[in-house]
Subunit: 305 residues, 2 copies
């Protein structure tokens, strides 16, 4: 196993202009793991309730995701429901039932502690930090966060990301974390907080990668129909770290070039785009690695001049 993914495994109810699903597999760790599984062997650290269905376990294991770290406790699995605006650039949360996720305290199986790559999904920063500190042979660690932690848990968050190699957030979060409206200035401020590498996700507009001495920008993939953007940012994270893990890169020792990181951003963008093509995780039931590489090539074709 090479990559450990920590975060939520959930059930989601989603309504978009293209339809509605009352209950389906979701959660950041689910999306990250499924996306990363096309590149590397993944172990998941999460908690579910006793309502968690066998078919959902089966989907993860069919992608080779190790479930030793998937804790099962008495109660219900985290449930979230939301409704997207017509242009799908925004969404309204209708329900958040944390259920067993409210007391989530990530427990790392012994076999996970020597893995090289760690992706910390958006959970309480203190928990992210605890996991990070238990990993003994890390080559590359990073993760995501959200406005809630930036606003109300700033000191804990800063102490947490100081130890990360990379931070993956969206543009609004980058502005909030840095206090800078301009993304170039925001990136510069965030790189002073610890991470060597910052990836800013911009939804349909693509993504940006910043290091101290260089940056890279890619536009978003142009889908004819976005069925459901839920999980696209997490799939981006999965493609990004998955590719880096597959290549065996070690960011800490600067064995990685901007070119390598740029290609990781493209694989992240590719996985995010596939995610939007069907509701929830549906696309990952049929997606093949050859389609991923073909879309990587498409990115080259429509961005080269």
């Amino acid at each position: 196993m090479s990559l450990i993914v920590v975060g939520s495994v959930a059930y989601d109810g989603v309504e978009t202009p293209h339809g509605r699903v009352d209950r389906m597999l979701g959660g950041a760790a689910t999306y990250i793991s499924l996306a990363a599984s096309y590149f590397t062997k993944v172990g998941i650290v999460a908690v579910v309730g006793d309502d968690f269905a066998q078919e959902d376990t089966d989907l993860l294991t069919s992608h080779g995701v190790d479930l030793e770290g998937l804790e099962r406790v008495h109660g219900k699995t985290f449930f979230w429901a939301g409704k997207y605006t017509p242009d799908m650039n925004d969404r309204e949360t209708l329900t958040t039932d944390l259920n067993v996720f409210a007391d989530f305290d990530p427990k790392l199986p012994a076999s996970y502690k020597n893995c090289s790559y760690l992706l910390l999904g958006n959970i309480q920063p203190r928990l992210q930090r605890n996991v990070r500190s238990q990993m003994q042979k890390l080559r590359l660690a990073g993760g995501d966060t959200m406005n809630f932690w930036i606003k109300d848990f700033r000191d804990e968050l800063l102490a947490t990301i100081r130890e990360w190699d990379f931070l993956l957030i969206n543009d609004a979060e980058a502005r909030m974390l840095s206090g800078e409206n301009n993304l170039k200035k925001a990136a510069s401020a965030i790189l002073d907080m610890g991470p060597h590498t910052l990836v800013i996700k911009r939804g349909e507009y693509g993504a940006m990668l910043f290091r101290k001495d260089s940056f890279f920008i890619v536009p978003g993939y142009l889908l004819e129909t976005v069925f459901d953007p839920t999980g696209a940012g997490d799939c981006f994270a999965g493609g990004f770290i998955g590719y880096l893990a597959q290549q065996g890169f070690d960011l800490q020792s600067d064995h990685i070039s901007r070119g390598d990181l740029s290609r990781a951003v493209i694989y992240g963008s590719v996985m995010g785009s596939f995610c939007c093509e069907q509701f929830g995780v549906e696309r990952f039931r049929t997606l093949k690695r050859a389609e991923i590489d073909a879309r990587f090539q498409e990115f080259r074709n429509f961005t080269t001049f």
Copy 2:
């Protein structure tokens, strides 16, 4: 002379988070001509009042812009004033005094009618069409429009753009013109309206180019400070057509590749980015061609993977 630019020459009052200027040279034709002047010889067709200042005439002539088509009539020059939102993605119009522009009826000097390239700035579609029909040896013609004409002058606009090689509009206008929210579908619908080539400008998010069989997307240039976005879209148009004119391309006969058009989009993006660096047309007082080519190379650097 190779390129004819038709549109408004105006005075603008602009307020942005970085300052305020009560009255300065502006207007679509001004920005388009100045930007294109770095690539090719430009003639302008516009109208100004008797308040139009010698120093503003001098700025245009210092860039080699031919003013034979700049009509001077009794009255005041078109005046527009607006105030930008803090993130500068939107603006509120405070004043629109059409003045002599209200009766603008473009008159083409005889020497302009044999020029090869035509850029029609955003004016009444019927006037755009009249100009187009007077040009006798066109190799490439296209232009801009806006929500007002799309909404209330749809038939005239459709008859006008049917004769264009390319249409340059922003994403909101593309959605309105096509009735499609998705930009890929919108582009496909618009390419059925006549133009072989569609460029969709996305402000800070860059630009997209569509032809029947291919497309190209470039992210926006990342400025540390956007002083004033006024005119950036027009400068994009100037860079785009200016480069194509300089290269001598002929879109109608398909002598132009997607690669050529993509480079024109990059030069458009470059000119739009310079425009934002200072208020109004200020940046064009000092800008050198070498800076333009250096920024073109920067685009390659931050988009290549």
